[in-house]
């Protein structure tokens, strides 16, 4: 469905994305993860034919996004970041306009707009001015717009940004349902969402692809590098020094204000240090109230791969 080869984009000499290579097959839900400024929006804009790449090529359903831009765009439903909409139009009016622009047949327009209103939960606000809608509803209008022409491919740039947890859940459910009939490429910061909806994940950092795999595989690569959590009655520094001496422990992070300190240990892959920790604690007579193996999450993968510096 999407094929990207050596895609590069430079803004005034500075590369935003460099030699990207990836493919998204029909029916996949592909998550695009990356820190801010990594190049997600740039890539999506190039795929949506908003701007041309500096070099390399990208095709959608076999049509080059630059050379055969009109055909490529016809297969696509795009929802830009920050969903720009015309505030002076009403919801249904806007969706009818977008349906006409996308070539939906005249007699099908009313039906499609009705379907999409229902699908995106816009039934109550169909005749409201877009300028009067809350952010959550605006996002839904954007999503409805992307869906109105029944495209094969959906490209959603941060579809849940700025939404409250309820709304995020609703959108997530919606995306999961849509994934059954459409191919979806979505970018997001919200990692649990990716774990739950995406069949594959691309992690992009500073314009390059750092990882491209299923969430399970990615987690598997660092499962052992999860961590161990110990809550013991011992001073922070004393405890940290002792724990660091255990082989396999890479880093100890301490937390806690009263007698009890919470030690988060980052360990090397393949090493289970819980037994060593327990032995240490009993030797030193520390009271222990928690000792767990923390399962790695996609967030760990993300942080490890991108080594995000604080903004």
């Amino acid at each position: 469905m999407i094929k990207v080869e050596n895609l590069t984009k430079r803004y005034a000499g500075q590369p935003a994305i460099r030699d990207l290579n990836f493919e998204v097959s029909r029916g996949e839900i592909m998550g695009f993860l990356g820190p801010n400024g990594a190049g997600k929006t740039t890539t999506m804009r190039i795929l949506a034919s908003f701007m041309p790449p500096t070099s390399g090529r990208a095709t959608i359903a076999g049509f080059d996004v630059f050379e055969q831009s009109l055909q490529a765009r016809a297969h696509l439903g795009y929802m830009p970041e920050n969903v720009p909409l015309y505030s002076d139009m009403r919801v249904t009016e806007y969706l009818r306009y977008r349906a006409a622009l996308k070539g939906v047949q005249h007699r099908r327009v009313t039906e499609r707009v009705g379907d999409v209103n229902e699908l995106c939960g816009l039934k109550g606000v169909e005749n409201k001015l877009i300028g009067a809608l809350s952010k959550g509803y605006r996002q839904r209008v954007g999503l409805a717009d992307a869906l109105v022409a029944e495209p094969d491919l959906l490209i959603l740039d941060e579809p849940t940004i700025g939404l409250d947890p309820n709304q995020i859940r609703q959108v997530r459910e919606l995306i999961k349902n849509l994934g059954e009939q459409h191919t979806i490429l979505l970018s997001t910061h919200i990692l649990p969402e990716v774990e739950m909806t995406c069949s594959r994940v691309i992690i992009i950092h500073k314009g390059r692809i750092e990882a491209c795999d299923t969430p399970e595989n990615l987690l598997g690569k660092i499962r052992q590098a999860g961590g161990v959590v110990l809550e013991a009655k011992v001073g922070k520094d004393i405890g940290a020094d002792e724990l660091k001496k255990i082989s396999g422990v890479r880093e100890v992070i301490t937390d806690g204000e009263d007698d009890w300190t919470r030690f988060s240990l980052r360990v090397e892959s393949g090493v289970d240090v819980r037994e060593e920790v327990f032995r240490l604690a009993t030797e030193r007579h520390w009271a222990v109230r928690e000792l767990t193996q923390r399962r790695a999450t996609l967030e760990d993968v993300f942080v490890e791969i991108t080594h995000s510096d604080a903004v």
């Binding site: 701007m51 795009y78 139009m89 622009l101």
Partner: protein, 251 residues
Amino acid sequence: MRKFYALLSREVRSYFHSPIAYIVLIFFLIISGIDFYFQVSFMNQRQAQYTVQEAFFNSVFFWFAFVLIFPLITMRLFAEEFKLGTIEPLTTVPVRDWQVVLAKFFGALAFYVILWIPTLLYFVIFLKVTNEPAAHSVGAYAGSYLMLLLLGMFYLSIGCLTSVLTRNQIIAAIISFCAITLLFFLGLVQFILLDVSSETRDLLGYFSAIEHMGTFSRGVIDTRPIVLYVSMTIVMLTLTHQAFQSRKWRL
């Protein structure tokens, strides 16, 4: 064509969703109303060699209001879309660039035509009240409104060009105002500067909007200004299209 029509109807409707359109309409109709009133009053007091309709279309009031409305009509056409980011959903659908550009131009032209329709009423009222036509012939009416259309097309296309070059509506308005005023004054040069040769004067006369309106409103339909304005409009719209296409490389 359906897509073009969808774009066009959206453009025209969006004019009437914004307060600027109503302000321009009111301002313009007040000034043209006052103009008509003054011309008729003036002619009431002394004999004149020209008709009411000629007086209306060639007066100072007319030209003053006329030159001012164009930046106001066109400034938001592209600049607002760039600023708000709505250019992104517009250019990621299977719609051709020239369809977008022409829809915006014709939307502005439609608004401009709507602006002028009420002035027909002035002549109807005059006819009803005085039982005499305001112009020598139908040709005079046709000529003056045709000139309005031609000038409108040309100045609106200039406005489109300035709007596509910037994200800032005010800058677009100022540049188009300066351009239109300068072009307009090109026609006045022959009256102001006395030490220009007669060849230069003739040359400038070919470009003079004032002179064109003068001849057309007398019912003399000269094809030279028609060719001038139509071709210049096409040039401006082509430039607008080029500038619009080049935005992809101008990020």
